[in-house]
Point group: C2
Chain length 329, copies 2
């Protein structure tokens, strides 16, 4: 077992965390040498929005080896280096996390996007199933998946490596503009190179789910208190969601912004993962303007775990204020 | 059982998290009404500094009902309100967390401060023992406790409600200046009102531990790779610690700064918990100047959990950059 396998096993079976003395060092005879690989805490975080319990679930990460060529692709290398320095970030070796937001509503559990699928996108990814288990959320509890867009890290988890539905009881809500673009192979040649893998993966993931799909137009309430927000640019049909319960609210911003220390500060930058960079920056400003004005809670897919917080205006840009972790749900 | 009791029980027995379907909602017959109180994730976070595994352990929180009267006591109400607004903070109802840093070194486990003691400081506090258990750290594994200062939230956990040592095998390293001041009742009358409770608690907590105490002068290496840093002001003998392993390093800043969104931004402010406000602000600037210059990792006692990150210079002040949570330890 390598370290990742060990970690995965430990996360999948939290009882082991307490049972085995991972850090045990006899006081009388300290063990020499480096520490063994102890387990990280399970990756989930809970808070409330009205009568909804929100749980963000960590699905792993991919390492970005050269942030400069992948982020802020319309910025100069010097501009990028200045932002990295201001945030104490290395130009190499940052992590891009994946975070799936679950909503326990009075009508069932809703998943906002579907994760990367256990092991399907390579080392470090696919931790959602074991972190769901640690959080006590079963795939069969999920009655609705609201999809933000069709990039592989958001939809691959809809089906297993064997093409079976991961959420056996869930309806799948899908934005019509996203479906129209990526379900038509004729659009592949009209898409940026970076987006072309999305076409076959769309066929593969939604193929077994066609009978459960609900393709929606515009910005409907897809379930009571959960409303779609058209936020195109990152992809043609990219969709955020607004969650309301009682007099509280929350936004799920999906990929309207990637890491906030860069893309909420540099509002004119876009990334190589944006389908239409100019549209992405207009959408980003509009969405986060609204979130800041309403002082609302939000979750995102690629912010540092737990991926939840608020947004404040700061000069001509925004600043993300992470939620204050608390044991009190 | 109230919610806190339920939460505590769940955290103490993580096996329950996976075993009980906390969010289970049958797809066919959704349960109406608000969600039951599901458990938060166990409060610990791990990363490496050289061959040391660092684990920050969440010990609960106290709610501060009026931040304006307790923080920045040398600032005007308007100045304080401006800072709260800039950070999206309410003037009422913020949480002040407690976080104990553990170091698994090749020579045994070291605790940096001792927590609030299970239940001894009231509701919401005293979660360190159950979060240690979730992390696989046993009290008997701890061979050394390095005390930063003698405020009740840092030393009460040294002994149980029954005055027994919580860490049965640990030596207790104590700064001589702190010991000299708070072990002499004659100093109580010369101390700010807010600090006077520290005198009897010093007697109570260290009484059962006198045979295990090592009172150190100056800035010695208290254990291989762990060096004291005199950082007076918050209390007369407040002490930070520098941790080195291989070519990596980390600082434990204890209470040299309370919450960073206020006290690393407003370098001229001090809090009602500072013994000598002017000395506290001089110490704070000097310590965080060093941490920023060295781009070093740090942990603190009252920063938002997981309480670990880096510090960058930002204008005339500093900005805290939280560690990026990762499943990979």
């Amino acid at each position: 077992m390598n370290r990742r396998t060990t970690l995965g096993a430990a996360l999948a079976a939290p009882a082991l965390l307490a049972a085995r003395p991972a850090l045990a060092q006899p006081a009388a005879a300290p063990a020499p040498g480096p520490a063994p690989g102890p387990a990280q805490a399970p990756g989930f975080y809970r808070f409330r929005v009205g009568e909804i319990v929100v749980t963000t679930v960590y699905d792993g990460f991919v390492r970005r080896n050269d942030i400069r060529t992948q982020l802020g692709i319309n910025a100069t290398p010097d501009e990028i280096q200045a932002v990295l320095d201001a945030n104490g970030l290395p130009a190499t070796g940052i992590q891009n996390p994946y975070i799936v937001t679950f909503l326990q509503t009075p009508r069932g559990v809703v998943a906002l996007d579907a994760g990367t699928g256990a092991g399907q996108l390579g080392p470090g990814t696919g931790l959602m199933p074991q972190n769901m288990a640690a959080a006590g959320i079963r795939p069969e509890d999920v009655t609705l998946v609201c999809v933000s867009h069709f990039h592989g890290d958001h939809i691959t988890g809809l089906t297993t490596a064997e093409n079976q539905p991961f959420f056996p009881n869930a309806e799948i809500a899908v934005p019509a503009r996203e479906w129209a673009w990526f379900s038509d192979e004729a659009n592949a040649a009209r898409s940026p190179q970076q987006q072309r893998g999305t076409f076959p993966n769309t066929q593969r993931r939604f193929g077994p789910l066609r009978a459960r799909m609900r393709v929606f137009e515009g910005e409907p309430e897809v379930a009571p208190g959960i409303r779609a927000i058209a936020t195109p640019g990152h992809t043609p049909g990219h969709t955020a969601y607004h969650i309301a319960s009682g007099n509280e609210q929350m936004f799920y911003t999906a990929d309207a912004s990637s890491r906030p220390d860069i893309f909420l500060r540099q509002l004119g930058w876009w990334s190589m993962f944006d389908f239409d960079g100019q549209m992405a920056i207009e959408t980003r400003r509009r969405l986060f303007d609204r979130i800041a004005a309403e002082r609302a809670l939000m979750t995102a897919y690629h912010f540092t775990f737990p991926g939840a917080g608020r947004v404040v205006r700061d000069g001509n840009a925004f600043r993300f204020v992470p939620v204050e972790w608390s044991s009190a749900v």
